[in-house]
């Protein structure tokens, strides 16, 4: 019944990747726009190597992808995960819209429940 999405090992990697505040911040940044690794490094008070490690953890969790651009490595957020979230929110929107319609019916006839 439950359509599941991530196999267990992957889910662990995702949670592990997102357990760190710097990695969450990096992910938020690269979802807004592609950024190079050195561009990212400028935003944090840690070494370039530390940022490379953070990016590698995010990459293993499939939350970001890396792409070579000239001499630079461009980090890009995995928009597919976000698109999936958006589609799921669309489905839940329908559940709530239906509820609002039914609330309206209850308000129009508030006492009907009493004689059920």
């Amino acid at each position: 019944m439950v359509v599941c999405c991530l196999e267990a090992g992957h889910a662990d990697r995702v949670f592990q990747a997102l357990a760190d505040a710097t990695r969450r911040d990096i992910l938020a940044r690269v979802l807004r726009a592609d950024v190079t690794v050195s561009g990212l490094a400028r935003h944090y008070p840690v070494s370039f190597a530390a940022i490379q490690k953070h990016v590698a953890v995010l990459e293993r969790a499939e939350l970001v992808t890396k792409e070579r651009r000239g001499r630079e490595r461009l980090v890009r957020g995995n928009a597919e995960a976000i698109r999936r979230a958006r589609r799921l929110l669309d489905e839940l929107e329908v559940v709530w819209r239906d509820r609002v319609d039914r609330i309206e019916a209850v308000l129009a006839d508030p006492d009907r429940g009493a004689d059920r």
């Binding site: 979802l31 979230a85 799921l88 929107e93 329908v94 429940g113």
Partner: protein
Amino acid sequence: MTVTSIVKDPQALTLTLTADFDAPVEAVWQVWADPRKLERWWGPPTYPATVVDHDLRPGGRVAYVMTGPEGDRHGGWWRLVEVDAPTRLVFEDGFADEAGAPNPEMPTVEITVTLVARPDGGTTMTTLSRFPSLEALEQLAAMGMEEGMRLAAGQIDALL
């Protein structure tokens, strides 16, 4: 149009719905606070709900059972976090087994309901649903879709 806005934030995993009703705040509050009214709208019509516990106080619990067309029973529960009658309600919504025992394997959603009086005597209701993770959202959407399909199936049955 009753629903005036829907805001979906796929990064924060939230769904915010705003709806306008012609009824006053106290009447809209009653659809949440009166278990007999709540069971008329919380679940789809093909899955009539029976609210078995309804303690609308912080820390209190609401428990309900929905019965499907084949007699299948599905439980659910709320754990109340904030209750400020008649304008604000915050609760955790989760799944339970047939006997009403919470199912820890299923995700919970945090729902914040706000009711605001409009100058014309009506009420603006906002519900904010916050999902704990993308996996949780997938699981809940799978349940929601199933609900939707059953609903559609029920309507087709009614036509035959």
